[in-house]
Every structure is written in structure tokens, then in C-alpha cells.
Amino acid sequence: MKRDQKKTPWIRLAEAARKQPPEASVEVPTGFSTRVAAQGLSEMKGGLAVALDRFSWRALAAAVVVMLLCLTSFYSGNSTNSASSEDETLLLDPISEYIEYSSAQS
């Protein structure tokens, strides 16, 4: 904090509060380290788990990209093929072919 800084009420209050000594005891409570170490080690991921974790995120990202590509190609292919598939249906329709043929004969 700069010396020439104008002392606001907050700065004066902070200065006064700093005179209050912090709680002295920083000793580890009885049994704390044993309990925390045991629990921490049990929850700690092993090397394989971490590697799989990283791999699974990458695999997920790759899967999303592939899915988007599939969806894009499917919809774009579907829209261009829609007209030709209609023609195909008409050509493969025997009834309409018969009607066309009979009307041409008469």
C-alpha cells in the first residue's frame, strides 16, 4: 500500500484490524492427518485411471466430430437426392406405367 495514499475509512479499519494477531495454533488436530491421508489415497486416481480419463475425453471429442460429419453428410445427401428419388418411385410404379401405356394405346 502506498504511503502517500489517502487513508479512506476502509484503509484505517484494515490497519486497525491487522493489529489483531492471527490465531496462533496451526497444529494438526489429533488423527486429522491419518484420516485425511487414508481418505485421500483411496480417492486418488492411479496412473491408468488418469490416462483413461484423458483418453476418454479425447475419444468423446472425436466421437462428437464424427457424429457432426455424419449428420451433415446425411442431411446434405438427403436434400439433393430427394428429387431423383421421386422420379425413381414414379418409374418403379407399375400402375402409373400401365395407365400411361394404356392411354398411349387408346
Partner: protein, 197 residues
């Protein structure tokens, strides 16, 4: 931030912890406890037990141990976990109690009177009441603002140190500190008004 015990070989201890050595894990907790408890006490949210919060810090440390690359001293890495855990806890307590004149004790009112006087040389003598009043004022701020202002104005850390502890850049630390001090000034003004009325 200096290591609590510079002679302690964290690298060797971490290597043993990675091999699931229970004694090494216990040793690591004991070495880091003073550092963690100081941070937890400085930023302890209301109604949260310091032991519970420090335990949460250690749990995060163990579960993320494989992510520690050794780019920064291990104590700095743990300090950052402790600070972010405190911010998360403060965020969880969304509701901030409104500070009213009637909530202040007699000693706190005296401290407030002293700090509101324009005399720069005078600082209140009652440091305990000053600390209590300060806590009530800080509780009005957002969690991130509380942390920044505590680190800068109470623990007197530099902007660079705060940036390293929180993971925010220096500009963001300065902006948060500026906004927090402005909000605190507003609260002082409100209390001043309430005192006069």
C-alpha cells in the same frame, strides 16, 4: 509465498505418495497443514468449520495430484487449491446478510466513528472490534471481491502474489480490488447516514 519448511523434500514425498505410501501421505498433510489452515482461516465463510474446509482442500489435492506438473512450487499449487476452495464455499453461501446499524456492537460503533473521522493519524485501538466490524463489511461483498481485498489489504500481498494465488491476471485483480473498495465505501456512507438519522 515461502515454503513452511524449506528443507522438506516435496518431490521425494510426492513420489512416495504416488506409490500409495500411507506414511508419506500423512507426512505431506502434516507439512502442508499450517499453510492450508492459515488460508482457510483467513477466508473462512460463516457457519463452515475450518477443519471441514481444510479436509476438502486436502481431498482436492490428492485427487488432482496427477495433474501437478512441477512447473510451480508445490506449496503454491496447494495454496491455489485452498483459495479456490474457499471461493467456492463463499459462493455456495449465496445469501449475504444485510449490514444494519442496529447489528453493530457498542465497540464496533466506536471503531466506526474513529475510522469515519477524517484524521489520517488516528486508527482505532480496539483491534478485536475492528476485526469484527471488518468481517461484517466484507461479508457484504461478492466472494471473489472478498478474497482479493483480504489478500491485498489484510495480508498485504502484492498484486502479482494475488494473481498467482487466484489464477486471475493482474488487471482483473486490480479491477476487482477497485470495485470492492468502492462498494465498501458505499457501505461506510450508508452506515454514516444511518448513524446521523
Amino acid at each position: 509465498m515461502p515454503d513452511p519448511t524449506p528443507e522438506f523434500d516435496f518431490e521425494a514425498c510426492l513420489e512416495r505418495v504416488r506409490q500409495r505410501n500411507q506414511a508419506a501421505a500423512r507426512e505431506l498433510v502434516e507439512q502442508l497443514y499450517p499453510l492450508v489452515i492459515r488460508i482457510v482461516r483467513a477466508h473462512l465463510p460463516r457457519r463452515v468449520q475450518e477443519e471441514d474446509l481444510s479436509q476438502e482442500v486436502f481431498m482436492k489435492m490428492f485427487t488432482r495430484l496427477e495433474q501437478y506438473q512441477g512447473n510451480v512450487p508445490f506449496t503454491h499449487w496447494v495454496s491455489r487449491i485452498a483459495v479456490t476452495t474457499c471461493i467456492d464455499q463463499l459462493r455456495a453461501q449465496r445469501r449475504r446478510p444485510e449490514l444494519r446499524w442496529a447489528d453493530l456492537s457498542e465497540n464496533e460503533v466506536q471503531v466506526l466513528d474513529a475510522v469515519l473521522q477524517a484524521d489520517d493519524a488516528q486508527t482505532p485501538d480496539d483491534s478485536l472490534a475492528a476485526r469484527e466490524l471488518l468481517e461484517k463489511l466484507l461479508a457484504q461483498l461478492k466472494p471473489q471481491d472478498q478474497v482479493v481485498i483480504r489478500l491485498l489489504d489484510l495480508e498485504q500481498k502484492s498484486v502479482a502474489e494475488v494473481a498467482a494465488l487466484t489464477g486471475w491476471n493482474s488487471a482483473l485483480v486490480k479491477v476487482r480490488a477497485f470495485r470492492a473498495r468502492r462498494k465498501l465505501q458505499k457501505h461506510f456512507d450508508q452506515l454514516k447516514k444511518a448513524e446521523r438519522s
